[in-house]
């Protein structure tokens, strides 16, 4: 009876599948251990580089330490002399084709932006992908955020809190603006609470 079980198809299938599963599990653990540190380091380096573009005078070593566990929280940025430069943050939301991730900077009194860097997006090349282009990005440098940011279509913005959306890519532009508004609102509340 027991001998029959060992010879049965059922038993063969079970052992073969288990063997493959064990092989796969062990390999994945090894691969993960070999690469995990590198993956995290890459991600952090990307964040630090983006923040440095917004705050060129920031203290790099300090930043490295601050983003060690990702950029879920607001990062208070300080210069090498310890002077507070402002805050860096990550915001994300849905664009036209997929998630967009932005790293933004705010000045120390939360009245103006220090600019934005797009760290992740899958927008249409030539249209939505232009959110990562200099023309769109530089509008956020010095943009007033005392009230929500607004976008205007096809004309130069004349208010300090307005940006011009990209022609043919209103959805992408709107996505960036609204994720920034949401996140800035959160940051404002969080910092107010702390004080």
């Amino acid at each position: 009876m027991i001998k029959n079980i060992f010879k049965s198809d059922f038993f063969k299938m079970m052992t073969a599948l288990s063997a493959v599963a064990v092989f796969s599990g062990v390999s994945l653990v090894l691969i993960y251990q070999m690469t995990a540190a590198g993956i995290v380091a890459n991600r952090n380096k990307e964040s630090v580089q983006a923040v440095l573009k917004l705050f060129p005078d920031a203290d790099v070593d300090r930043l490295m330490e601050q983003v060690k566990h990702g950029m879920g929280a607001i990062v208070p940025v300080a210069g090498k002399d310890g002077k507070a430069l402002g805050y860096a943050f990550k915001a994300s939301g849905n664009g036209y084709q997929g998630p967009i991730e932005v790293i933004g900077g705010l000045n120390a009194d939360l009245t103006q932006m220090q600019g934005i860097e797009i760290v992740d997006s899958q927008e249409t090349p030539g249209l939505g992908a232009e959110i990562a282009g200099e023309k769109f990005k530089k509008q956020f440098l010095g943009l007033a955020v005392t009230q929500p940011i607004e976008y205007v279509k096809g004309e130069s913005p004349d208010e300090p809190h307005e940006v011009e959306s990209i022609t043919g890519a209103t959805i992408s532009s709107r996505a960036v603006v609204s994720m920034l508004n949401e996140r800035i609102e959160e940051i404002r509340n969080e910092i107010k609470e702390k004080k």
Binding site: M13, A16, L17, S24, I31, I39, P125, G126
Partner: protein
């Protein structure tokens, strides 16, 4: 032996003749470099999974073979994905979900099912190498054409003059289909000419 290797490059080219694995082919070939990296990642997966599957082919029960092949393939795909993330971060980001999606690339399961599960290790290795390189070359050709016309550059180096306006359509999905269709047609024309001569 040499036939096992060479057939993947032209006569049974996975992209232009078998028309398999077209999803990553169309999606990632906006630039030649992405085509090259996607091709190499796929080559790595198809070689390693073919070799392993050929090694264990005698112990694979018929009924659960697809499940076993898939787990083996998925393991190597994850390895390739982590490797790219750790060492080639920008490329990995550009390829996005298409690296994990190598799991469902039918070239790989196709080679496992049609070739590696029935033949000795070395021949399976050659077959996988040929198919992988055939796939890679196809992706580089597609990527180069689309990058030259769509971005005016090749492997990131600007080659078109200042007066050239980028054909943005070539970077979009439509450009992928147009280029791909023309290349498949060209392949058929050449193959027919060769056949007539013989």
């Amino acid at each position: 032996m040499i036939k096992d290797f060479a057939k993947g490059l032209w006569r049974e080219n996975p992209i232009f003749v078998q028309v398999l694995g077209t999803c990553p082919t169309l999606a990632v070939t906006t630039k030649a470099l992405f085509g090259l990296s996607m091709g190499l990642a796929t080559t790595f997966v198809v070689i390693s999974s073919s070799v392993v599957i050929s090694m264990i082919r005698r112990f694979v029960p018929e009924q659960v073979r697809i499940a076993m092949f898939t787990v083996i393939i998925a393991t190597f795909v994850t390895a390739a994905d982590y490797f790219l993330k750790a060492n080639f971060y920008t490329i990995s980001k550009a390829l996005g979900p298409y690296v994990p999606l190598i799991v469902v690339n039918c070239i790989i399961l196709g080679r496992a099912e049609a070739f590696a599960s029935k033949r000795p290790v070395f021949r399976s290795f050659l077959d996988a190498l040929g198919m992988g390189l055939g796939f890679t070359c196809a992706l580089i050709v597609l990527g180069s054409i689309r990058e030259i016309l769509g971005s005016g550059s090749l492997f990131g180096v600007r080659i078109m003059g200042k007066g050239f306006t980028d054909w943005i359509v070539m970077v979009l999905p439509a450009g992928a289909f147009i280029t791909f269709g023309l290349l498949v047609g060209l392949f058929n024309v050449i193959n027919n000419k060769v056949k007539k001569k013989i």
